[in-house]
C-alpha cells in the first residue's frame, strides 16, 4: 500500500518535471548565471524589474492567437511598426509628454487594427502555416516600412518637424529620440519603491479574496475552496515576504533601491484583466473552439475565418500598446530596426515560461519574461567572469535567443513522448 503511494507520488513528480522541462532548464541556467555573474543583488533585481515592466505587454500580445490555434504570432512585428508610426506622427507635430504618447497610441489603434485585419486575412489563405507566413510577412512589411520612411518621407510625404529628417531632406533620421518630457512619461506618473509595491500588491490580493468571501457569506452561498485557499496563500506569502525583509539587509536594500512604475503596472494589469475576461466571453469561447478544430467550429455555425482575423487584430493592437510602453521606457528607438526583434524575443520569452504553440496563459508570459530577461542581463556578465571576455557573453545572448525557440519547440515535442512513457507505469 505504502509503496503504491510512493510510486504514485513518483509518477506525479516525474510528470511535473517533464511537463516543465523547458522552464526548469532555463531556471537552472538563470541561477547558475546569477552565481557566476556575481553582481550586487540591487543591480539584478532592478534590471529584472525594469525589463519586466518594459516587455510584458508585448509577450501578453501573443496569447490570443495561440488560443485560436494559429501558433506563435510572429506578425506582432506589424503592431510594433504601428506604434512606431504613431510616435513618428506625434513627434512630427512636436507633441510632448503624456499627450505625445496618447496621440501616438490613438494613431496606432486604427493602423494596428488594419494591419491585424490584413494579416488575419492572409493567414486565412495559408491555414496551418501561420507561423512561417507571419515571419515572412514581418520581412515584407519591413521592406514597405523602410521604403516609406527611408525614401518617401521628405520628397513625397511632407514632414513638418525638420529635426526628424536626415540632413539631405530624404528619409528619417535614426534613432528617433523622445524629448525629456516624453521619455518615461507614463513611468514617471507614479514611482514607488519595490518593497512598498510588493506589500501593496499582496494586500490588494488579500483584500480581493476577503471581499469575495464576504460577498458570498452575505449572499449565503457556499464558500468554495478557491477563496479560502487563496486567502490563506496570500496571508502566507505576505508573512514570508515580511520575514525575508526583516532578516536580510541586502534584500531589503535591493528592494528599496528599485523603483517600479505603478502606472505602467496598472496598464499591464488592465491587459491581464482584459485577457482573462476575454477567455470567459462568447468571443473567447469561439476563439478556443476554432483553435480546437476549425471544421467542427464551422459546422456549428461559428464564423471561423472572422474569429481568426479578430484574434490577430487583438494581438496586433496589444503589440502596438506594448511597443509604445517599451519605447517610452527606453526613450528612443532606432527608426529602421527597433521592431525587428520584437517577435523573436517575445516568442522566446513565452516559450521559456512553459507555453507551447498550443497552450499559453498569463502565468507563462510572466514567468517567461522573468527568466528570459534574467538570462539576458546575466549572460554577458557571466561570460566576462568566466572567460574574462564580455564579448563571449554577448554572443551567447544572441545565440540563446534563437536557440531558445528551437530548443523549446523540440523539448515540447519530446515532452509528449516522455509523458506517455511515464503514464505506462501509472494505471490504477
Amino acid at each position: 500500500m505504502s509503496s503504491e503511494k510512493t510510486s504514485k507520488a513518483g509518477v506525479f513528480v516525474k510528470k511535473l518535471l517533464i511537463n516543465n522541462a523547458v522552464t526548469l532548464l532555463f531556471f537552472v541556467i538563470c541561477i547558475a548565471g546569477i552565481i557566476l555573474a556575481d553582481q550586487p543583488m540591487s543591480y539584478i533585481i532592478g534590471e529584472i524589474s525594469s525589463r519586466l515592466f518594459r516587455n510584458l505587454i508585448l509577450i501578453l500580445a501573443l496569447l490570443v492567437p495561440v488560443w485560436a490555434g494559429m501558433g506563435m504570432n510572429f506578425s506582432i512585428v506589424l503592431g510594433a511598426m504601428a506604434a512606431q508610426i504613431g510616435i513618428i506622427v506625434s513627434t512630427n507635430f512636436s507633441l510632448s509628454g503624456i499627450a505625445c504618447l496618447v496621440v501616438s497610441f490613438l494613431v496606432s489603434i486604427p493602423l494596428s487594427l488594419l494591419f491585424g485585419n490584413l494579416t488575419g486575412r492572409l493567414f486565412n489563405q495559408t491555414k496551418g502555416q501561420e507561423m512561417i507566413t507571419g515571419m515572412i510577412l514581418g520581412f515584407f512589411a519591413k521592406g514597405i516600412y523602410d521604403l516609406v520612411f527611408m525614401f518617401l518621407c521628405g520628397p513625397v510625404i511632407p514632414v513638418r518637424n525638420e529635426s526628424l529628417l536626415l540632413t539631405n531632406g530624404i528619409g528619417l533620421t535614426t534613432p528617433i529620440n523622445l524629448d525629456n518630457a516624453t521619455k518615461s512619461a507614463i513611468n514617471k506618473i507614479w514611482m514607488v519603491s519595490l518593497d512598498k509595491a510588493v506589500y501593496g500588491v499582496l494586500f490588494l490580493i488579500l483584500l480581493f479574496f476577503a471581499a469575495r468571501m464576504m460577498g458570498k457569506m452575505i449572499k449565503k452561498q457556499k464558500i468554495s475552496g478557491r477563496e479560502s485557499s487563496g486567502l490563506l496563500a496570500s496571508v502566507l506569502v505576505l508573512a514570508v515576504f515580511y520575514l525575508l525583509c526583516r532578516s536580510s539587509e541586502t534584500f531589503l536594500f535591493a528592494l528599496r533601491f528599485t523603483d517600479v512604475p505603478i502606472a505602467t503596472g496598472i496598464l499591464i494589469v488592465i491587459v491581464c484583466i482584459y485577457i482573462t475576461f476575454l477567455s470567459k466571453t462568447k468571443l473567447g469561447s469561439d476563439i478556443h473552439a476554432v483553435g480546437q478544430s476549425m471544421p467542427i467550429a464551422v459546422s456549428m455555425g461559428i464564423p471561423a475565418d472572422k474569429i481568426r482575423i479578430t484574434a490577430i487584430m487583438i494581438s496586433t493592437l496589444l503589440a502596438a500598446l506594448g511597443q509604445l510602453i517599451f519605447i517610452q521606457d527606453i526613450g528612443n528607438f532606432t527608426t529602421y530596426t527597433a521592431h525587428e526583434n520584437v517577435g523573436t524575443f517575445s516568442i522566446a520569452a513565452l516559450l521559456v515560461g512553459g507555453a507551447s504553440i498550443k497552450k499559453a496563459n498569463i502565468g507563462h508570459a510572466i514567468l517567461g519574461a522573468l527568466l528570459f530577461h534574467t538570462m539576458f542581463i546575466i549572460s554577458p556578465l557571466a561570460g566576462k567572469n568566466l572567460f574574462d571576455n564580455a564579448q563571449l557573453g554577448e554572443y551567447f545572448r544572441v545565440f540563446v535567443c534563437y536557440a531558445v525557440i528551437a530548443v523549446a519547440l523540440a523539448l515540447h515535442a519530446w515532452k509528449s513522448v516522455l509523458a506517455r512513457r511515464v503514464e505506462e507505469g501509472e494505471e490504477e
Partner: protein
C-alpha cells in the same frame, strides 16, 4: 398534415461524376424516414446539401429545389440550416475534444450574461453563464436518459457516449424541426444502439422529423415510419415501412439477390501450433481497459473476440500494436514481442485494422493507390523504384494489386487515382481494410471489420476474410461488437467481460451461452 421538407428532383455531380440523380421525396413533422443505400450511393451527399456544407458549394453546387415548410430555400451554410431548424449528427464526430460535454452541447448557443463592456461593444463580449450552460446540458442529457457528467471533457468519454452527446446537442435546440442522423449507430454496441433508438423515438414523438441513415437494417425496420432507398444516386424506393421487409430493402439497395448468411467455420480442427500467446495482458485504454487477458491464437484459425462495450475487448489488439500503454507478455511465434514499441508488431509480420478508422487512418489528400500500399511500402519496402540511395513510389507495380483490391472489396470509386478524402465514408473504410490486407500478414488483427459498411459489401468482406484465411493461410483475430458477424466467420469466439476472458465458445454454441458469458457468468470451455 403539412409537409415539412420536400426534396424536389435533386441532382448533384462531382466534376462530371453523377452521384445524385433526381432524388425526390417528402417528410412530415414527427415522421422518421430511413435513408438506405450502398456505400457511395449518395446518402451523405444529399444530407450535406440539406445542411449547406462547404463541400457542396466548393464542388459547384447542386440542381433541384429544397422546399422547407412550404418555402423554397437555398441553404448556403450550416448556420442557415440551423436557423431553419435543421440539426445534423454527421457521420464523423463533430465534438471538440478539449471542451466539456456541457460546452459542446451548447456550442455557439451558449447562455450569456451581459458584461460591463458588452453594453457598449458587440455582443461577442458577453460572458458565458457556466452554471446555466451546465444545467441545460444536463437537462438535455436527462431527456435522453443518459447519465453523463456534463463537466468532463469530451476526450475522456468512451466513443459510445459521444454519440449521445451529439444528439443532446441537437435536441437542445429549441427551434429544432428536423434532425438528420448520418449512421449514428455505427459506433455503438447493440445494447447502446437499442437505447439510442428509444431516444430517437422520443424525439420524433415530440413532433420533430428525423432522417435516419443506417446500414443496420434491423434498426431501420424497427424505427422508421418510411424507407427511402438510393442506388447509385437514383431513388429506387419510397414506401411505408409496414409495406416492406428487411430482405426487400437489402435487395433493392444492392440491386441483386443476396444469399443468406451461414456459419462458415464450424468444426475445423487445428494442431496446437500456437502463433501468438498473450499472458496477463493489461491495457490502459480509456473507456476500454482490460485487466488480465490470457489468450492463445492457433496458426490458421479465425479467432473472434466479442463482448460488451467498455469491457476491454478492443483494447487487446490496440495494446499489442502499441497504441496504448500495456503490461504483460506477448509471444509471437515463440519469441517475446516488445509491444510497447509502435511499429514493432507490424515489422514482425502482423497487421492491424483499427476500429478508429478516422484517428489512425488515411492520408485523406492522397490517392487510393498510395493509401493502400503505404504500409506495405514502409514495412516490406515493396512498390519502390530504387535509385541508388533513393527510392520512390512505383505507381505501375502497385496498380495491379490496387485494382484487384478495389474489385475484391467492391470499392466504389473513379479509379486507383481518386483522392481518398472524396470517397464515401464506407468506401474509405474499405481502403483501410485493403491497406492491411496488402501487406500479406501472417497474423491479421481486424477490429469492427464491417462498421459503416453496407449489407452487400459486408458479405463480400466477410467472405474475403475467410477466403484469404483458407487460401493464403493467414491467421485472423477479429474483434467485433456484432456477435452474428463473429459467428459467421470464426472458429472460436472469446468473450471479454470486465477486462478478462470470460470464456471461449464455438460459433454454433447456443445463444444463451453467449449471453451468460457476456453478462459475466463464468462458463464455457477452451
Amino acid at each position: 398534415m403539412d409537409t415539412l421538407l420536400h426534396f424536389k428532383n435533386i441532382k448533384k455531380s462531382f466534376s462530371g461524376n453523377v452521384v445524385l440523380d433526381g432524388v425526390d421525396f417528402k417528410i412530415q413533422p414527427g415522421q422518421i424516414v430511413a435513408l438506405a443505400g450502398e456505400n457511395g450511393a449518395g446518402k451523405s451527399t444529399l444530407m450535406n446539401i440539406l445542411f449547406g456544407m462547404n463541400v457542396i458549394a466548393e464542388t459547384g453546387g447542386y440542381e433541384g429545389e429544397i422546399i422547407f415548410e412550404g418555402k423554397s430555400v437555398k441553404v448556403q451554410s450550416p448556420l442557415d440550416a440551423m436557423e431553419l431548424g435543421i440539426g445534423m449528427v454527421h457521420q464523423e464526430f463533430m465534438l471538440l475534444p478539449g471542451f466539456t460535454v456541457a460546452r459542446n452541447i451548447k456550442l455557439n448557443r451558449e447562455n450569456l450574461i451581459p458584461s460591463l463592456i458588452s453594453r457598449i461593444t458587440p455582443k461577442s463580449y458577453q460572458m458565458l453563464d457556466n452554471p446555466q450552460i451546465i444545467k441545460e446540458a444536463a437537462g438535455a442529457l436527462g431527456r435522453l436518459g443518459m447519465e453523463i457528467n456534463p463537466e468532463v471533457t469530451v476526450d475522456k468519454l468512451p466513443v459510445g457516449h459521444m454519440q449521445f452527446v451529439e444528439i443532446a446537442r441537437e435536441i437542445d435546440k429549441s427551434n429544432l424541426k428536423l434532425l438528420v442522423l448520418d449512421e449514428p449507430t455505427a459506433v455503438l454496441t447493440e445494447s447502446e444502439a437499442e437505447r439510442f433508438l428509444k431516444c430517437i423515438r422520443k424525439v420524433a414523438d415530440a413532433g420533430i422529423a428525423v432522417i435516419f441513415i443506417s446500414h443496420r437494417l434491423d434498426e431501420v425496420i424497427q424505427l422508421a415510419d418510411s424507407v427511402v432507398i438510393l442506388r447509385d444516386g437514383q431513388m429506387v424506393f419510397d414506401e411505408k415501412t409496414e409495406n416492406t421487409d428487411k430482405h426487400q430493402i437489402a435487395e433493392l439497395m444492392v440491386g441483386r439477390k443476396l444469399e443468406a448468411e451461414s456459419l462458415m467455420n464450424v468444426n475445423r480442427s487445428f494442431e496446437e501450433d500456437i502463433i501468438l500467446e498473450i499472458k496477463h495482458l493489461r491495457v490502459n485504454m480509456p473507456g476500454e481497459r482490460s485487466r488480465d487477458v490470457s489468450l492463445k491464437v492457433r496458426r490458421g484459425e479465425i479467432l473472434g473476440i466479442g463482448g460488451l462495450a467498455g469491457h476491454g475487448k478492443t483494447s487487446i489488439s490496440n495494446g499489442i500494436f502499441g497504441m496504448y500503454p500495456a503490461r504483460g507478455s506477448v509471444h509471437y511465434k515463440g519469441r517475446p514481442l516488445s509491444f510497447g514499441k509502435i511499429g514493432e508488431a507490424l515489422n514482425q509480420g502482423m497487421a492491424f485494422v483499427s476500429e478508429d478508422r478516422k484517428g489512425v487512418g488515411l492520408l485523406l489528400n492522397e490517392s487510393i493507390a498510395l493509401n493502400m500500399v503505404y504500409t506495405d511500402m514502409k514495412v516490406n519496402r515493396r512498390f519502390l523504384k530504387k535509385y541508388g540511395f533513393f527510392s520512390q513510389f512505383d505507381k505501375k507495380s502497385a496498380r495491379e494489386v490496387v485494382e484487384q483490391m478495389i474489385q475484391e472489396l467492391d470499392i466504389r470509386c473513379t479509379g486507383p487515382d481518386q483522392i481518398v478524402g472524396r470517397l464515401s465514408g464506407g468506401n474509405q473504410q474499405k481502403v483501410c481494410m485493403a491497406r492491411a490486407l496488402i501487406t500479406k500478414p501472417e497474423l491479421l488483427f481486424v477490429s469492427e471489420p464491417t462498421r459503416g459498411i453496407d449489407i452487400g459489401a459486408k458479405q463480400l468482406l466477410l467472405n474475403y476474410l475467410v477466403k484469404i484465411n483458407k487460401e493464403q493461410g493467414i491467421t485472423i483475430v477479429v474483434t467485433s461488437s456484432e456477435l452474428n458477424e463473429l459467428r459467421t466467420i470464426c472458429d472460436r469466439i472469446a468473450i471479454i467481460g470486465s477486462g478478462v476472458v470470460q470464456g471461449i465458445l464455438a460459433p454454433d454454441a447456443p445463444n444463451v451461452d453467449f449471453a451468460l458469458l457476456m453478462s459475466g457468468e463464468k462458463g464455457g470451455n477452451t
